[in-house]
């Protein structure tokens, strides 16, 4: 049995280890175009900030792959023929499989603005090792950067740039920071925090046009509000989409919509082909683009490939992030009402969302640490706000001596 996995990201590698755990004798090959070894994309920012080096990005020691007899291949796959079970690589080589897992992850959305076609250099993403290398190449000669896109990757990039003393204009289309996840109060806490870190935050503004000089180097960005922002680089952080363009035009494409469409057991429409991670579109139409979900997909897809019955439904949403110095934990969904408290004068706040009858539906916590497992339990048990407030201290996860005082937060008051 030859298992082949396209994509050496967290979904692909987790699947490979799971396959090996259950099948000691199978041949397992993982193909990756971006890097020789699995890297943690989530830590790209720490390399750009000079707090880690490239080798530190590898979550596993290299010996682990040889010990588990997993073959790693550095190549870009360009074509799939499911009738002959063959893959073709960019260099012309080919490989046959018995069972295939597509775990190709995400690719950045292309820059949509007028002027991009005339700009040769200066528009950069922040998703891959290659993007990281470009930033490292550009930074020494860079004084001003425009970053566009009010999601998490945008803030991470902004933090890196500020770390190196670069002037940053941060364009966020919405009228407060990250309305998809945060209410205006929290949006304002974040906005003020960013400004204190020297970020020129422009809310409610977006790019109208990018401007390049005759040498095709980016020189400025014009916005819809009429700003002209001179810059040497533009960080385009306007979201990612499943990295499946190559699959759409191949001989035997699997059914694709936004991503590769999979059943609840991660099977695609092609025989012997599964998909997992950022590139998979679930039966609900969801594309989960999170580290944890990719890990979980990888594990379950491997079990499905091994013949186990798998029936995946996405769990209750949770995530965490760090926005400069502010840690952020979120669990669940919004509700018609919410309970909000802020530590006076501090970038610390809690918001507990609930139904009109008090049943808690979600949490949005800024500036202190929480064990999300408690939140998940309370939501699953359909607890009401008074119960949650009474037991809130249980879920605190701050460092010793550093526990945020719920009394000072005004909980109970």
């Amino acid at each position: 049995m030859h298992y082949v996995i396209i994509g050496n990201g967290v979904a692909g590698i987790t699947a490979a280890f799971m396959l090996r755990k259950r099948d000691p004798h199978a041949q397992i090959t993982v193909i990756g175009g971006e890097s020789d070894y699995f890297i943690s994309r989530t830590a790209l920012m720490y390399v750009l900030m000079d707090r880690m080096n490239r080798r530190d990005l590898e979550p596993f020691e290299r010996r682990k792959y040889t010990e588990n007899n997993i073959t790693l291949l550095r190549a870009w796959v360009t074509a799939l023929n499911a009738s002959t079970r063959t893959l073709r690589f960019a260099d012309g080589a080919s490989l046959t499989y018995d069972k295939l897992l597509l775990a190709t992850g995400s690719a950045p959305n292309p820059a949509p603005w007028p002027g991009v076609a005339h700009t040769g250099t200066g528009i950069l993403n922040f998703v891959s090792l290659q993007d990281l290398a470009k930033w490292e190449y550009h930074l020494p000669a860079t004084r001003r950067v425009v970053v566009v896109g009010g999601g998490l990757i945008g803030v991470e990039l902004v933090e890196c740039l500020r770390h190196h003393g670069i002037e940053v204009d941060f364009l966020v289309r919405e009228s407060w920071y990250w309305p998809m996840a945060l209410a205006p109060e929290e949006g304002e806490i974040i906005a003020n925090h960013l400004r204190r870190h020297g970020v020129q935050l422009h809310l409610g503004d977006e790019i109208a046009e990018v401007v390049a000089n005759p040498a095709r180097q980016l020189t400025a960005v014009r916005t819809t509000q009429g700003r002209e922002l001179p810059c040497q680089a533009l960080g385009a952080c306007i979201g990612v989409r499943p990295a499946i363009d190559w699959l759409r035009n191949t001989q035997t494409p699997p059914a694709c919509n936004r991503g590769v469409q999979v059943q609840a057991d991660f099977r695609t429409s092609l025989p012997n082909v599964w998909a997992a991670g950022d590139c998979a579109e679930l039966p609900t139409g969801q594309v989960e683009q999170l580290w944890y979900s990719a890990k979980r997909h990888g594990e379950l897809a491997a079990l499905s490939m091994l013949g186990d019955a798998v029936n995946y439904t996405p769990p209750l949403f949770y995530n965490s992030a760090k926005l400069f110095d502010i840690e952020y934990t979120t669990v669940g969904v919004g509700g018609p009402e919410s309970y909000f408290r802020r530590l006076p004068g501090k970038d610390v706040s809690i918001r507990i969302m609930h139904e009109t009858d008090g049943t808690v539906t979600g949490f949005n916590m800024l500036g202190s640490r929480w064990d999300h497992a408690w939140f998940e339990t309370w939501i699953a048990e359909r607890r009401t706000l008074p119960h949650v407030l009474k037991n809130l201290a249980q879920a605190q996860f701050d460092v010793e001596f550093g526990r945020v005082s719920l009394k000072a937060l005004g909980v109970g008051a």
Binding site: V10, S40, A43, D50, S320, G402
Partner: protein, 345 residues
């Protein structure tokens, strides 16, 4: 390295084993060789009115801990564990490890360091030393080394000593801050560490037993006495001078700050065994780790913290000194230093 500008480039060089780091390592090593094996610093100490070269060394050490400590407190001012811990380190160094022994000497008492215990301060549990100091010192040393230190470690982990009290750890966590990430994280290092540190522990326990035995035999066996004497002087030379001083601090800019603590300290070995059986844990929040690796990178003991965090395993490692830096640098708040209620949990 992406940063333009000379100061930043030099800083990167010093912190990442560049030529400047090698130069600094050579300088530290030369300093310790001169200190331990020559009298080069004696005239300087006398000119400064400090009496002996060891007092001069103690003064420099205290300055390094205090200055480095202030830097660390500023850097981690948002983290109360780090602030309080570092304050304690500075205060212990300035009092128990510096001014109190000086005061005792001035009062014609034994120059006793209340923050050091056997087997780190090996002579504090040797028969000849115990016979030479007043009874309160004997009691403090025996009870401290054999009861107090291990008992606290069983409850709080070895951190209460290694990261809060000990001068070696104190210097590492203050002055050594720029180099903490240089520790080697490979499983090979882990294997080597287990062999070397326990070898030193066996040597120190063995030597202590031998000393009492020889003392009891009361020189009736000159061959045994000679053997014990030689053993003790080799132990002093290799462990106390070369490993803890010259190598321990000399390697800061190349191998990270806790080379001595990790590979050779008999106290760390002993407390590590207690810690493994005790209540201290690094708690891992379930399914929240993004495998970024900051925790492993900044672990001065070379523990691959990420390997536990990404596997959702709360853990204790014998070597963990509980400095708390993994929890500090983790961008997702995954880790926490805790005492579990009952052992075995």
């Amino acid at each position: 390295m992406i940063r333009a500008g000379r100061a930043q480039a030099l800083l990167h060089n010093v912190k990442n084993r560049g030529w400047a780091a090698w130069a600094l390592a050579a300088l530290f090593t030369a300093f310790y060789v001169a200190l331990y094996f020559t009298e080069a610093f004696t005239p300087i100490a006398q000119a400064l009115g400090l009496g002996s070269k060891w007092t001069l060394y103690g003064t420099l050490y205290t300055i390094a801990v205090t200055a480095g400590g202030i830097h660390v407190i500023r850097k981690y001012r948002h983290n109360r564990y780090q602030v309080i811990r570092t304050l304690v380190v500075i205060v212990v160094q300035c009092t128990f490890a510096y001014s109190i022994p000086l005061l005792l000497k001035f009062l014609h008492q034994p120059e006793y360091y209340f923050s050091y215990f056997w087997p780190l301060k090996f002579e504090y549990l040797t028969p000849s030393y115990l016979a030479s100091v007043p009874l309160p010192f004997v009691l403090y040393s025996v009870v401290g080394s054999l009861v107090l230190v291990p008992l606290l470690a069983a409850f709080f982990g070895k951190r209460w000593y290694c990261s809060w009290v000990c001068g070696c750890g104190g210097l590492a966590n203050t002055f050594g801050e720029p180099w903490r990430h240089l520790s080697d994280k490979s499983t090979t290092s882990w294997k080597i560490e287990k062999v070397t540190i326990h070898a030193v522990l066996i040597a120190s326990v063995g030597l202590t037993v031998l000393l009492f035995f020889t003392y009891g035999a009361n020189k009736s066996d000159p061959q045994l006495a000679r053997f014990t004497g030689e053993f003790q002087s080799y132990y002093g030379l290799i462990v106390s001078s070369i490993l803890s001083g010259v190598v321990g601090v000399g390697l800061y800019p190349l191998g990270g700050t806790r080379v001595w603590c990790r590979f050779a300290c008999p106290m760390a070995a002993l407390l590590g065994i207690v810690q493994k059986a005790g209540r201290f844990r690094i708690a891992v929040k379930k399914d929240m780790c993004i495998s970024c690796g900051m925790c492993s990178k900044y672990c001065e003991m070379g523990i691959d913290v990420r390997s536990y965090a990404q596997a959702n395993e709360s853990f204790t490692r014998a070597s963990c000194v509980g400095c708390g830096m993994c929890a500090e640098v983790c961008p997702r708040g995954v880790l926490n230093l805790v005492q579990i209620k009952r052992a075995g949990q």
